[in-house]
């Protein structure tokens, strides 16, 4: 190869060029115009009279290959309007367009992508990143119009109104999302059963950042959160390793992030865009990560200026649960004087006395509350409204009163034997278990016997069962706890975490049984007689369980714990007011922000108003704070008018939690 071959061509024949003549008789290799069209394209061009010579349209259509990156199609039923396609588009060709005609559902936004084909380069990154796989490409690749506006197209399931063949689609290989959650480390069941140590260890910085990197910033979760936390923003802050920014974002909408970062019901995760095809972003654990990583002095930066009284009005708050603390926080931030009254010796309500220590340890509750105290909220513990100070007195001394006294009474069963002392209500037991865990009670002060049946299928029932497991092991070296509920596995109200972790901790489960009688012999509880439950709800969807009496069973146990619901205690409402406050099914009636009709100084929130969970309580508190502010701000004589306070006030009102919870995404 190395020789100079040029030398060999010195004497090429002058007739050489003649050899070209044979090509005259060869079949042409050029493609005639008509075969570059698919028939659909050809008729399309025909309709638009773009091609004048109609003979050309008599085409032998060329079929594009399966993989072709042609014009997009988008199945609107599947698309959730997350806008990730628009975010990734390297040519900025996609705009999300509001469509009010779409159903307003949780987990979906009322918008759909519009593609500007004047910009699109058909890279298919939008297809590869689509959270739902609704966006695909077709085999159509010819389109023409004399009107530039006609190149803005909203992809639908069809192309130009017709069903077309599918081209490029996302595959597992080409997927640009990360559908797998970074695993959360849990203390091993055998280890954690022996103490009240926190089960979930929390993310390390590396893991939190990796988990945060999965989020596509669509904000679909936000609209499903009762307080509309700025979820994508704080997740982005984690990814950018900006704990301070994340902390500030969180405190705009949630003053109890340490609590919510552990025990929230996380509606957001159900709605998360990534959950359509994969595992939702661990939003709750990420929030917890920020709080766990924020040093105390970082909290000082949440408010740009120190929080002080700038409005001369005073507010009393009864109870110190989530809704009360939330109301207190916002009212204080607005510049009011806020006094919180708590009957127990610790603030926190359900976070300190209901939820178990292994889920939410005291230090985490304290971290949240310390900040609320730090900005100047006065919390008076061991002060029970109704006895230590009456509601009337509060009304006289304060300009407004907020009630957030919660559901702290256990609901009992009306069956034979239920009045026995070893038949114990969840809300009577859980505060004691919590006190034991924090060392305020001794083990032998706890009336816990070697075996127990827990009745109930909610998270609280699991709290009871798992607390009992621990106490029994501490006391007797082994545990024997059986949980039974009316609901069968498929409709069990408890969260999956509880079900799985409870199972790991060897809580036995017999689901789908209705308690009929507490078996008592010689004054001692022997067990619980149950019937098989056939259905829990009737056709109209009302609670109306049906049993099969022939399938009777006795679950043997020394104690029976009932976790079938909680009830309020309204003893503190004086007789004089009883007829002015309307109570319906245990809840106080009030307007949207929790203001009681006819008693404009009185606001309510949390379980006694809306329920059912902590985060809804936090939302109630926020709304009530706004309601109270509306009520008092105008009346107050002294009020600060600095720019900073105006902005702060605006922000607190701007972040109003939207009430209407939307139906879940199918």
């Amino acid at each position: 190869m190395k020789d100079n071959e040029n030398k060999r061509y010195k004497h090429a024949s002058i007739f050489g060029p003649m050899r070209h003549f044979k090509y005259i008789f060869k079949k042409p290799v050029t493609h005639p115009f008509k075969i570059i069209f698919t028939r659909k394209n050809a008729s399309y061009l025909n309709d638009n009279a773009i091609i004048k010579n109609k003979k050309r349209l008599d085409s032998a259509p060329r079929t594009a290959p399966d993989n072709l990156r042609g014009f997009h199609t988008n199945d609107w039923e599947v698309c959730i309007g997350c806008g990730t396609c628009a975010d990734i588009c390297p040519t900025d060709a996609i705009r999300m367009v509001e469509r009010a005609d779409l159903k307003d559902e949780a987990g979906k936004l009322q918008q759909r992508p519009v593609i500007d084909y004047g910009r699109c380069c058909f890279c298919a990154l939008c297809v590869d990143t689509c959270t739902t796989e609704s966006l695909k490409m077709s085999k159509e690749y010819i389109y023409a119009s004399t009107d530039p506006d006609q190149f803005l197209l909203m992809p639908e399931k069809t192309w130009q109104g017709e069903k077309v063949e599918q081209g490029y689609v996302k595959t597992e290989e080409s997927d640009l999302l990360d559908l797998k959650r970074i695993p959360m480390e849990h203390i091993e069941p055998d280890e954690r059963k022996k103490s009240f140590i926190e089960v979930v260890r929390g993310y390390s910085k590396e893991y939190a950042r990796q988990e945060a990197a999965r989020c596509v910033e669509c904000g679909i979760c936000t609209s499903s959160c009762p307080v509309q936390m700025h979820i994508p923003d704080y997740i982005k802050a984690i990814w950018e390793d900006d704990i301070e920014g994340g902390l500030r974002q969180i405190y705009e909408t949630n003053p109890l992030p340490g609590v919510c970062g552990r025990v929230c019901t996380h509606n957001c995760e159900t709605a998360c865009a990534i959950a359509v095809r994969g595992e939702a972003i661990a939003i709750r654990w990420l929030k917890r990560y920020i709080i766990d990583s924020a040093p105390d002095d970082m909290y000082d930066k949440i408010f740009a200026e120190p929080v002080t009284e700038v409005i001369d009005a005073k507010i009393a708050i009864a109870g110190s649960g989530p809704s009360s603390l939330s109301a207190a926080y916002y009212l204080r931030a607005l510049g009011y004087t806020v006094d919180v009254f708590e009957e127990k010796d610790r603030p926190g309500g359900v976070a300190s006395y209901g939820a178990p220590q292994y889920r939410i340890p005291d230090y985490a509750v304290e971290k949240d509350i310390n900040f609320i105290k730090k900005i100047g909220v006065n919390i008076k513990t061991n002060t029970r409204v109704g006895t230590d100070i009456t509601l009337d007195e509060l009304q006289k001394k304060y300009d407004a009163v907020f009630l957030g006294t919660g559901f702290f009474k256990a609901r009992m069963l009306n069956i034979p034997g239920a009045d026995h002392k070893d038949v114990i209500g969840a809300m009577d037991f859980l505060p004691l278990a919590r006190d034991l865990a924090r060392g305020h009670l001794k083990l032998d002060e706890m009336n816990v016997l070697p075996s127990a049946v827990v009745v109930g299928g909610g998270d609280v029932a699991f709290d009871v069962a798992r607390n009992l497991t621990r106490i029994q092991i501490m006391k007797y070296g082994k545990a024997n706890v059986l949980l039974t509920s009316l609901e069968s596995r498929d409709i069990l109200p408890a969260s999956l975490d509880e079900f799985v972790e409870g199972g790991e901790e060897a809580v036995k489960m017999e689901l789908g049984f209705g308690p009929q009688e507490i078996m008592i012999k010689n004054g001692k509880v022997k067990g619980l007689k149950v019937w098989k439950c056939l259905s829990v709800f009737d056709e109209a969807g009302r609670f109306n369980p049906k049993f099969d009496e022939t399938q009777e069973q006795v679950f043997e146990a020394d104690q029976v714990y009932l976790s079938i619901g909680q009830a309020p205690d309204y003893d503190y409402i004086p007789e004089s007011m009883k007829d002015k406050v309307i109570i319906e099914r245990g809840k106080i009636k009030a307007n949207e922000v929790g203001q009681v009709a006819g008693q404009e100084w009185l606001f309510v929130g949390g379980d006694i108003f809306r329920g059912p969970d902590i985060i809804t309580g936090v939302a109630d508190g926020h709304r009530a704070a706004q309601g109270i502010d509306e009520f008092l701000y105008k009346k107050s004589k002294k009020k600060e008018q600095s720019e900073y306070y105006k902005e702060l006030r605006e922000a607190i009102h701007f972040n109003t939690p939207v009430l209407a919870m939307k139906p879940k995404r199918k």
Partner: protein, 368 residues
């Protein structure tokens, strides 16, 4: 005679893309000449800084229109080096198939290209018709004919479609069968030999002076210098092929090397199709969704052998989601820009299109 200014291109059958040569001629001898790459492909390097590592796939192929894949590979390999990322075995082989198909397609185009300035349109049509078959294959594999956007950091976007081997073999067989015909039509055709032999020289000294690589260099310095051999990437060290070279760099000898490379590429693709293992074709570059993928801090140079020579990306990452800076070494920059100015003068007007074609000048990679 008075010196006259003459434009060659951009509208000229012998011109490539949107480049043009501004010539000052005296009679039919070029006295001075300048390349104007067209300014249509400006700002790519800057644009890359504004796109995430993954999204750059929409931009980088455009740095060379006819052979876009070299960009994708050089970019991907550079980022992979910074990441310390191990690409799945199958992806390496797929990448090689793509690279060699691309080489075939551009060699065919360039070879057919000599048909324009020489009036030999038969050659041009037939070469383009064969290139078209390659584009059909690309379309099946990647979903696109020209800008494939297929080789990505971590592997390739999708596996080869089922049955594509058959189509590739069929094409390679037919191309191989027509090889002699191609030679006959072009390089062995006396009327063309007259135009390309002993003219448009690219002597050794010029190669060293300008930094010419690829066929231009190989055909002048008598050495098989080829990135695939001297800095093997993908699995080029596991296939057998020869690098054609010669010691007399006139236009004909360059075209001759080009044609011989076609045979080598055919052989490489055939070997790849035998040796390619099963398995995954892409690994994500890190956890998270692609818009949050980051590449560690550092800088890297990665190069591939393009049809025109060493084609490289110098990339700097500041640890972020986008490249901090990318510099592209376009293979035809030395001869295309500097060579036209310095060594085209002295040749004849009708040599200019042949000059551009046989040197392998690609305007976007000069513009960037």
């Amino acid at each position: 005679m008075r010196e006259m200014k003459l434009f060659l291109g951009p509208q000229h059958p012998g011109m490539h893309g949107n480049a043009s040569v501004h010539m000052y001629v005296d009679g039919d001898i070029i006295k001075r000449s300048f390349l104007l790459p067209g300014m249509l492909h400006r700002g790519f390097e800057k644009g890359m800084e504004r796109h995430s590592w993954m999204n750059n796939i929409s931009l980088i192929p455009r740095v060379c229109v006819v052979e876009p894949d070299i960009n994708e590979l050089a970019f991907a390999m550079g980022a992979e080096k910074l990441l310390g990322l191990e690409v799945p075995e199958r992806a390496h082989w797929i990448r090689m198939i793509i690279m060699e198909l691309a080489r075939l397609s551009i060699h065919l185009m360039a070879y057919g290209g000599i048909g324009g300035p020489t009036g030999n349109y038969t050659l041009m049509y037939h070469a383009h018709a064969d290139r078209n078959e390659i584009l059909d294959i690309f379309e099946q594999i990647t979903g696109m004919r020209v800008y494939h956007q297929y080789i990505v950091i971590g592997g390739v976007r999708k596996d080869l479609p089922k049955g594509i081997e058959k189509d590739i073999h069929k094409f390679l067989d037919s191309l191989e069968a027509r090889y002699d015909e191609y030679r006959d039509l072009g390089i062995d055709n006396p009327s063309i030999i007259k135009r390309i032999k002993d003219t448009i020289m690219l002597p050794k000294e010029v190669v060293w002076e300008l930094g010419v690589t690829g066929i231009g260099m190989r055909s002048a310095v008598n050495k098989p210098y080829d990135i695939r051999k001297v800095m093997p990437y993908c699995r080029y060290d596991q296939v057998e092929f020869e690098v054609p070279y010669s010691d007399y760099s006139d236009a004909r000898s360059r075209i001759d090397c080009k044609l011989k490379e076609i045979l080598q590429s055919i052989s490489i693709i055939r070997q790849c199709l035998i040796k390619i293992p099963e398995g995954p074709v892409r690994v994500p570059i890190s956890r998270g969704q692609s818009m949050r993928w980051v590449v560690p801090k550092g800088y890297v140079y990665s190069a591939v052998e393009s049809s025109r020579g060493e084609f490289g990306y110098f990339m700097v990452s500041d640890g972020g989601t986008n490249p901090y800076r990318v510099g592209v070494r376009g293979a035809s920059y030395p001869q295309g820009l500097l060579g036209v100015e310095k060594y085209m003068p002295g040749t004849r007007i009708d040599d200019a299109p042949m000059w551009i074609d046989t040197m392998g000048v690609c305007s976007p990679e000069i513009d960037r």
